[in-house]
């Protein structure tokens, strides 16, 4: 077996894990499976690409690759803009659709179906605006450097793994030790009681969308940077995202990340062992096994 699968799995798992964080937070605090989350990844990538194009037009030097990476300073700057725009998209969608359904006391299944419909609309809109043709943040070639034990990784791949680690640790510390994090955990356990404690639940919901959409955008940019940007890139990641969130335990940020890495690694090794055509089935098999054997996931609480 080629040990390169380990690096490939970690890279893919980083994107899945970061995307799953938003999904697991939405699931635990808003209590519905948000199918639009995959599209936040795709929209995040396209919005970042658009901002990068604008920045490139304003200052051509921003696009020049900065050694050893394949992209210039324009991309991280554009990603900040993309994160902000993806947050606006998520908050807007909540205001127009999900918030109204919550206010009417709609059943969870109605909200899930609404998210499914919104997901299709968002995807079609992306295809309408940008076409289905894949696009790239950069076309610069990178040589994968040897890491030892027969493994290789490009600087971009190592950056993705490092940035993911940094974001997950930062988010975990915020949710565990900050007042906002405590409020989020409280709302996840009992939103009605949270109000009695003086927590503004609507504010916590907004924070949840902000974190979720922000992480989704960064995950989308990572996927776009390492592979390509397509309108269906988020939809294709949806099953691995759900599998990672459920495997890690709903509401757990480290759980979502570890779940993402497990799915990424399992997919990478499955490609080597049983063939690339089975890659998509891996997340489904893991999801079913978790639901049957440990429905609360790795870090989830029984009955939560």
């Amino acid at each position: 077996m080629n040990p390169q699968a380990l690096i490939d799995g970690l890279v893919a798992g980083s994107t899945i894990g970061l995307g799953a964080i938003g999904l697991t937070l939405t699931y635990s605090i808003l209590r519905f499976a948000n199918f639009t989350h995959g599209d936040f990844l795709a929209w995040g990538a396209y919005l970042t690409l658009t901002v990068a194009g604008v920045l490139g037009g304003l200052a051509a030097g921003l696009g020049a690759p900065v050694y050893p990476f394949s992209f210039g300073w324009g991309l991280p700057l554009a990603m900040l803009g993309g994160v902000c725009l993806t947050i606006v998209l998520a908050l807007g969608l909540d205001r127009v659709l999900f918030g109204r359904l919550r206010a009417r006391g709609a059943d969870t299944i109605i909200i899930v179906m609404a998210s499914f419909g919104a997901s299709m609309a968002l995807r079609s809109l992306l295809e309408f605006i940008f076409t289905a043709k894949p696009v790239y943040f950069t076309k610069a070639l990178q040589i994968a450097n040897p890491l030892g034990f027969g493994m290789r990784a490009t600087p971009d791949q190592l950056l993705v793994i490092g940035l993911t680690l940094l974001l997950v640790v930062a988010l975990h510390l915020i949710v565990t030790f900050s007042a906002t994090g405590r409020a989020m955990r409280a709302v996840a356990e009992n939103p009605s009681l949270a109000g009695v404690y003086g927590i503004d639940v609507a504010r916590v919901v907004r924070v949840t969308w902000i974190i979720g959409a922000g992480m989704a955008c960064i995950a989308g940019v990572m996927a776009g940077l390492l592979v390509q940007i397509r309108p269906y890139m988020g939809f294709d990641l949806l099953l691995p995202l759900f599998a990672a969130a459920i495997l890690g335990g709903i509401g757990s940020i480290p759980g979502a990340m570890i779940g993402g890495l497990v799915i990424g690694l399992a997919e990478a090794f499955a490609v080597q062992i049983v063939g690339a055509e089975w890659r998509a089935a891996v997340a489904f098999v893991i999801l079913v096994l978790v639901l049957m054997l440990r429905p609360q996931g790795i870090f989830g609480r029984k009955g939560a």
């Binding site: 007042a179 405590r182 409020a183 955990r185 409280a186 356990e189 009992n190 009605s192 009681l193 949270a194 109000g195 009695v196 404690y197 003086g198 927590i199 503004d200 639940v201 609480r301 939560a304």
Partner: protein
């Protein structure tokens, strides 16, 4: 001075089928009041409506003279309302300290640590293990944590929904001892309770709610022998007759 005043309050889950059908009463500052009534009388619904958890369909609620009708529960806490629900009244996945820290967020930053320390002094059982997950506490300790959380912000009125529900007789005694201390400290208390004997021993005044309407409002001593209470619970005596 009147702390809490309800005027013709109507509330429930369906506008066409109100559970509370026009209730009026006032609670004076420092008073300890219990609300009694048979199951389904609307006691819990009424105080949940006061606490912003159930919609109101008519009437008003005033706290220290300010109209608070229809405000959301988190806004009411900032206005000085302390409410302790009957069940699920603490966050079991959070530690004792975290439960109090959430409530303390409403206070100025400089006061938070002192107020939490004051609650740990008042409830030493909690103070001895602040990092214990609240889900590991006994029923009585949970009620104490719920009361500590509500008292932390020094509310103008503390409303409790059946604090003795589901507790063993020993724990009921502990809970009522705690409430006696809270009342003695000058906190205005409104208590909905099924444990009539314990509630009447604690409070000075009692209301009886029957079928969403006030059937009695008078000194708690009037209800001690049980005869009047029995008649009110069974609907053999109207509000007018008992007034």
């Amino acid at each position: 001075m009147t702390t809490l005043a309800l005027r013709d309050l109507k509330a429930g889950y369906d506008r066409d089928l109100p559970i509370v059908k026009g209730v009026s009463f006032e609670v004076e500052e420092g008073e300890c009041l219990c609300i009694l009534g048979p199951n389904g009388a609307g006691k819990s619904t009424m105080i949940k409506a006061v606490a912003g958890l159930v919609p109101t369909f008519g009437g008003t609620v005033h706290l220290n003279g300010a109209d608070i009708t229809g405000l959301a529960s988190h806004q009411l806490v900032r206005k000085g309302m302390g409410f302790v629900p009957q069940t699920e009244n603490i966050f079991t996945s959070l530690t004792i300290l975290e439960n109090l820290q959430i409530a303390a967020q409403l206070l100025p930053a400089a006061e938070r640590a002192n107020r939490i320390a004051a609650m740990f002094d008042m409830f030493p059982d909690l103070g001895s293990r602040p990092r214990t997950e609240a889900g590991a506490l006994s029923g009585g300790q949970r009620q104490m944590l719920a009361a500590a959380r509500a008292l932390l912000t020094e509310p103008k009125v503390l409303i409790l929904d059946e604090p003795s529900a589901g507790l063993s007789p020993k724990l009921v005694g502990q809970v009522f001892d705690t409430l006696r201390r809270i009342s003695a400290a000058g906190v205005t208390l409104v208590l909905v309770e099924q444990n009539v004997r314990a509630a009447l021993a604690l409070t000075e005044r009692a209301l009886v709610l029957v079928d969403g309407r006030l059937a009695h409002d008078g000194p708690a001593d009037d209800l001690h022998d049980g005869k009047l209470l029995g008649e009110l619970f069974l609907g053999h005596r109207s509000a007018e007759a008992s007034a």
